[in-house]
């Protein structure tokens, strides 16, 4: 994992999970391949993950399928509607695992682990508290990304 400063202003292609003392952002830059007829190859996205948790921060490149973001969006929308339950996300290549556990009263606990394949020894586990106001914004950001990078069929 490369240590770097974490941008404070979100981009249009960025989804951010933030809260007290922590921030995880996934910024999608583009489809990995354009024009390929293959469903699998056509839906990989090039993305960058930046994590700031306590005094630790880092960023690394990641590949995420469009359908993985669709599933994350689905889970997060349902959890936000009910304000209960747990959102579980782990990308297919297991670089990034993330859970959002709603704890009632609109509070949520975000925990996860970054395991960039480019740096097998560089694993970062993190956890921080968030709430529905942050996560509602996260859902909007995720929706915007999916509009920009829809599942290609």
């Amino acid at each position: 994992m490369l240590f770097s400063s974490v941008a404070s202003e979100p981009s249009l292609n960025e989804v951010i999970f933030s809260g007290a003392g922590g921030r995880v952002s996934v910024e999608v830059s583009d489809y990995e391949r354009s024009g390929t007829p293959d469903f699998h190859d056509a839906n990989w996205l090039i993305a960058s993950v930046s994590i700031s948790a306590g005094s630790f921060s880092g960023s690394f490149a990641i590949s995420i399928g469009t359908y993985e973001l669709v599933e994350l969006h689905r889970q997060l929308r349902l959890a936000l509607d009910a304000l209960v339950g747990t959102v579980s996300f782990e990308n297919m290549e297991t670089d990034l695992a993330l859970t959002v556990e709603f704890q009632g009263n609109g509070k949520a606990r975000i925990a996860g682990e970054a395991r960039p394949h480019s740096s097998p020894a560089g694993t970062l586990a993190f956890a921080f508290d968030s709430d529905q106001s942050y996560l509602a914004l996260t859902l909007e950001q995720l929706s915007a990304i999916l509009r920009r990078f829809p599942v290609k069929k």
């Binding site: 990995e32 391949r33 390929t36 293959d38 469903f39 699998h40 190859d41 990989w44 090039i46 490149a61 590949s63 399928g65 359908y67 993985e68 599933e71 782990e90 297919m92 290549e93 297991t94 394949h117 480019s118 599942v151 069929k153």
Partner: protein, 277 residues
């Protein structure tokens, strides 16, 4: 014997591919004996410590025709000399005041303590060089392979006469080593092109197995060979993938994600991605 991987002969009894100095086990993706003298190892490049590795564990990208090959060029990347491993090894042993940076540049240490860049040493791939020539490239440099050249080796090409009679036309001059760290940090690949750049591969059928372009990219980046994938698929534990139509196969050497039909989109089963250990 039959001709198989990279055109080398495969011993029918042992299943090993003959690479001149060493045998390579396709099943393991490794040479069966260490690189002589582990010439390529450098402190800053752990991958180079592996004396058994085949082409830095990137067989989809690189081949090693003779077991080892080096290209030594002038500071402009031209007037290159192609050397066998033994030639290069002899050359290094005969030199005394030269060292190589992790980026593959060769420097001499002057009497006043300053450094002079005298050229570059690149571990290269014969097929890739030929391919580069076809597309008009003057030279193919593979940074990671350059790291395998030599560490703290002597270099005095003009006066020691190691290459006397070979007439490679080197011109040695002084320069600074500043900035080499940045080059060393560049991932494996053609000079100036990150090895992990996406979109390099297309869908391919390898050994009867269909691979997505993304999967092939991953194999290259992570230094695994198709035989490793086959081993995982044949001996690993299968379970439904987390997305409809996908299958996850976990083996001792990593995980393979197979997919054929996702979200109602039909397609032949193929390797979607590979996560080697």
């Amino acid at each position: 014997m039959t001709e198989l991987f990279t055109g080398k002969e495969r011993d029918a009894e042992t299943g090993l591919d003959y690479f001149g100095a060493r045998y390579m086990s396709a099943a393991q993706g490794r040479f069966t004996s260490p690189d002589p003298d582990n010439l390529g190892s450098i402190k800053s490049d752990p991958q180079s410590w592996n004396m058994y590795g085949y082409v830095r564990n990137n067989p989809l990208r690189f081949t090693d025709e003779l077991g080892l090959n080096y290209s030594v060029c002038d500071t402009n990347g031209k007037n290159c000399a192609d050397l066998t491993d033994s030639q290069y090894n002899d050359y290094l042993k005969s030199s005394s005041n030269i060292y190589q940076t992790a980026g593959g540049s060769l420097y001499s240490v002057n009497q006043d303590g300053s450094d002079t860049k005298v050229g570059s040493a690149t571990y290269y791939n014969e097929k890739d060089v030929a391919g580069a020539a076809q597309i008009g490239a003057s030279q193919l440099l593979i940074n990671e392979f350059a790291k395998q050249a030599v560490l703290n080796a002597g270099f005095n090409l003009g006066t020691r006469g190691l290459f006397a009679g070979l007439s490679y036309g080197f011109r040695l001059y002084r320069a600074s080593q500043a900035g080499e760290a940045a080059i060393a940090a560049t991932p494996v690949g053609r000079l100036g092109s990150s090895f992990n750049a996406a979109g390099n591969n297309g869908e391919q059928l390898i050994g009867g197995r269909l691979y997505s372009g993304h999967a092939l990219d991953r194999l290259q980046e992570r230094g695994a060979v198709p035989s490793v994938v086959e081993d995982i698929i044949s001996s690993g534990t299968r379970s439904p993938g987390r997305y409809p139509g996908t299958t996850e196969v976990k083996g001792a050497n990593g995980t393979v994600i197979l997919g054929g039909k996702l979200f109602g989109v039909a397609g032949a089963e193929k390797v979607i991605t590979v996560i080697p250990k």
